[in-house]
């Protein structure tokens, strides 16, 4: 595109925004409201995702081997586990290693356990990791059926419930965000459609003298993009400020190993960029949609 043409499109696009200032306020308001809600959902969803990822990467099955198992029984059990196709990797941890780890984990309280070094009551253990956290339950119950297995543990209740919750949250979040975006596009499109009547003659003449549809569409593209970008200013400010506040105040209280908020930097910036892109996208879509009807040949 020639630079002059681009300047013209930009000039026309901004002119329309200024000329219909009340409509612009309405369209920008629609974008702002939408993006604030979308931002809240995205913050929640992405953090839940992060937590789920942590759980998923931490989640493992601990297979407690019968105290009476002989060395070849243990090897055989290892082969059986190895043959399961959802198993990503596994390793053997002897009862001595288990005790060492336990003592270390407990810190000062662990010293008491050192007494057991002479007569270790713990089991030998296979630690099994699956490809997906969703596979944990299935693999665990299969292993439970193998011989020489005393017990199997993968924090089943907690993990299952968290994963399920996260799954639901994801579906609801995506549905909600999609609905919000569609509503905003519809609102913007309708708002701009109201202003288009004045421009109908102009579009008619442009088509009559042989302007290409893309040429006619460009100012609307610019107008929509600006609407979206302006509409994303307040949501971005809220994200940058609000998430900072949340992060400072909430993160320390969530003192669990695997529950940790995404760090403000870069998360808040990434989210802001996302909002800017979404804003521009719905603005452009709404605007270009509104002109479509007038471009039918």
């Amino acid at each position: 595109m020639k630079i002059n043409t681009f300047k013209r499109h930009f000039r026309e696009g901004t002119k329309n925004l200024v000329r219909n200032s009340w409509m612009t306020v309405a369209a920008v308001g629609a974008v702002t409201t939408t993006l604030v809600l979308v931002a809240a959902f995205l913050m929640l969803m992405l953090n839940l995702n992060q937590i789920a990822d942590n759980i998923e990467s931490d989640a493992e099955i601990r297979v407690f081997i019968d105290l009476s198992a002989e060395e070849e029984d243990i090897d055989e059990l290892g082969h059986n586990i190895e043959d399961l196709n959802r198993v990503e990797e596994f390793y053997f941890s002897s009862k001595d290693e288990e005790l060492e780890a336990l003592v270390e984990d407990l810190g000062e309280d662990g010293e008491a356990w050192e007494l057991f070094e002479q007569d270790n009551p713990l089991n030998d253990v296979y630690v099994v990791e699956t490809y997906e956290a969703e596979d944990l339950a299935g693999v665990a119950s299969t292993i439970e059926g193998f011989s020489n297995v005393d017990d199997v543990d993968y924090g089943s209740e907690t993990v299952d419930r968290l994963l399920q919750f996260n799954q639901y949250a994801r579906y609801i979040g995506i549905t909600f965000i999609a609905a919000l975006l569609l509503t905003a596009i519809f609102l913007i499109s309708n708002t701009i459609k109201m202003t288009i009547t004045a421009r109908r003659d102009e579009i008619g003449i442009m088509r009559l003298v042989g302007a290409k549809n893309s040429f006619i569409r460009w100012p609307f593209f610019v107008e929509g993009m600006l609407t979206g970008v302006i509409g994303s200013v307040i949501p971005i400010a809220l994200v940058l400020g609000g998430y900072h506040f949340l992060y400072i105040n909430l993160n320390d209280r969530l003192n669990f190993q695997f529950i940790e908020l995404l760090p403000w930097n870069p998360f808040a910036w990434q989210l802001s960029l996302m909002l800017l892109a979404i804003g521009a996208f719905i603005g452009i879509w709404g605007s270009v949609m509104s002109v479509r009807k007038f471009l039918k040949v």
């Binding site: 009559l208 003298v209 042989g210 290409k212 040429f215």
Partner: protein, 228 residues
């Protein structure tokens, strides 16, 4: 050259506007299209700049069938055709100069060429001195001259006018006709739908008379031929 071969047009509301039209208009001709209101004159000329496509039959412009034409090609067709309406269709907020230049700007002509072409064509229609006026400051005849300037600024091969003198008094109408004759004399095809008996009978040209969506008469140097 415009060729129509057994063209029918039925609108979505069921109205049959064209009922088997066949006709050929050669390059450089001057053609009046006459007939009572609702005879199909407008539909007939709308086919020529592909504002409408035939329901049946063929319309060929320079041997290209507009029914097969892709939407993307339509703007290029329109650039070779200038269209003028009874109600001028000028943009009220733009000056005379801007209204005419608009036609070149939207097809991305280069700015230097635009200035030269616009001033030339305003000179041709006798409105160079009113280039900075807005349409509301002009008389009806002057506004129509601006519309003609806009239609011919791109040197089209064909000029199509739908009752261009319909809103104008007789004296002004003759001025407009003089411009059309000049345009035609330079080799441009002129096709004009009109209700003006005086004009048709005085400036004798080919007359295509329509009734009920059909061509009922097609004469060279013809007459208007009926009373309104």
């Amino acid at each position: 050259m415009i060729e129509m071969n057994n063209v029918y047009k039925v609108y979505d509301n069921g109205v049959t506007a064209l009922n088997g039209i066949s006709s050929t208009i050669d390059n450089g001709e001057f053609v009046y299209v006459v007939g009572p209101s609702g005879a199909g004159k407008s539909s007939f000329i709308k086919m020529m700049y592909r504002e409408e496509v035939p329901s049946k039959g063929q319309v060929k412009i320079n041997h290209v069938d507009i029914g097969d034409m892709k939407d993307k090609q339509v703007p290029y067709l329109r650039r070779s055709i200038g269209v003028i309406f009874q109600d001028f269709k000028l943009l009220p907020k733009l000056t005379v100069y801007e209204n005419v230049a608009f036609a070149l700007e939207v097809i991305e002509e280069n700015p230097r060429k635009i200035r030269r072409r616009v001033m030339d064509v305003l000179d041709k229609v006798g409105l160079k001195h009113k280039a900075r006026f807005i349409p509301a400051q002009l008389s009806g005849g002057e506004q129509q001259r601006v519309a003609i300037a806009r239609a011919i600024v791109n040197n089209p091969k064909v000029v199509i006018a739908d009752e261009p003198t319909g809103n104008l008094d007789p004296d002004t109408s003759w001025e407009i006709m003089r411009i059309f004759e000049e345009v035609n004399a330079s080799g441009t095809t002129v096709i004009m739908a009109t209700h003006s008996k005086d004009i048709v009978n005085k400036i004798r040209r080919r007359v295509i008379a329509m009734e009920n969506g059909q061509i009922v008469r097609d004469e060279h140097r013809g007459e208007y031929g009926y009373e309104d």
